[in-house]
Amino acid sequence: MSFREISAWISLVTVGVCFGVYFGLIVSGAVSPRGLGAVHLLLLCVGALVVLQIGSHAVAARLAPKDARAPRDERERLIAWRAQSLGYYVLMVGVLALGAPAHFGHPPADLLNFALLDVVVAVMTVAVAQIVLYRRGG
């Protein structure tokens, strides 16, 4: 498995875990989405995500230093472009769909969480698309 495929897996897992915890606690009601607690939880999850991503990438780069240092070749650039295009459409659909909860009078905190969920889903879509394309060969 190439360093960049490992990187896509790291992105998928870390984003899934960190924001899974965030949205899990918000949806279950353990943390109110409208209080300061949600902001603290979000900061904690983003901090954990940054630490996990840096740590995991450092380990992966140590295991394959040559692979990690090499610039993307044409196939890897094509895979990144295709995956990001797909992620862009997911992001756009999510942004347009934000009109629905806004129309039904959801408070700004909820809209913010819907927007955050959209970003998370888009990022995970990019990672999944990259993994699938790397598995398929290009």
Partner: protein, 74 residues
């Protein structure tokens, strides 16, 4: 659907001192995974990469890659 292009990279590597995919990848500035994908017919390289591969083996592009689709290019 895989691209309708056959290639002789595996045979050419074998004929050139059993060159590894990593060695070929290094010489054309690509990753080993990309060379493996090209060799397996899962990825069609750019024209530039095709020429680079052919130059490593000292042959023409047509000796490395062959079109396997319809004659009219469809």
């Amino acid at each position: 659907m895989p691209p309708p292009i056959a290639n002789q990279i595996r045979r050419l590597r074998f004929e050139h001192g059993e060159m590894t995919q990593s060695e070929l990848a290094e010489r054309i500035g690509m990753t080993r995974q990309t060379v493996a994908a090209i060799e397996a017919g899962k990825y069609s390289p750019s024209l530039e990469a095709a020429f680079r591969i052919a130059m490593v083996f000292g042959v023409g592009v047509e000796a490395v890659f062959q079109w396997r689709g319809e004659a009219d290019g469809a």
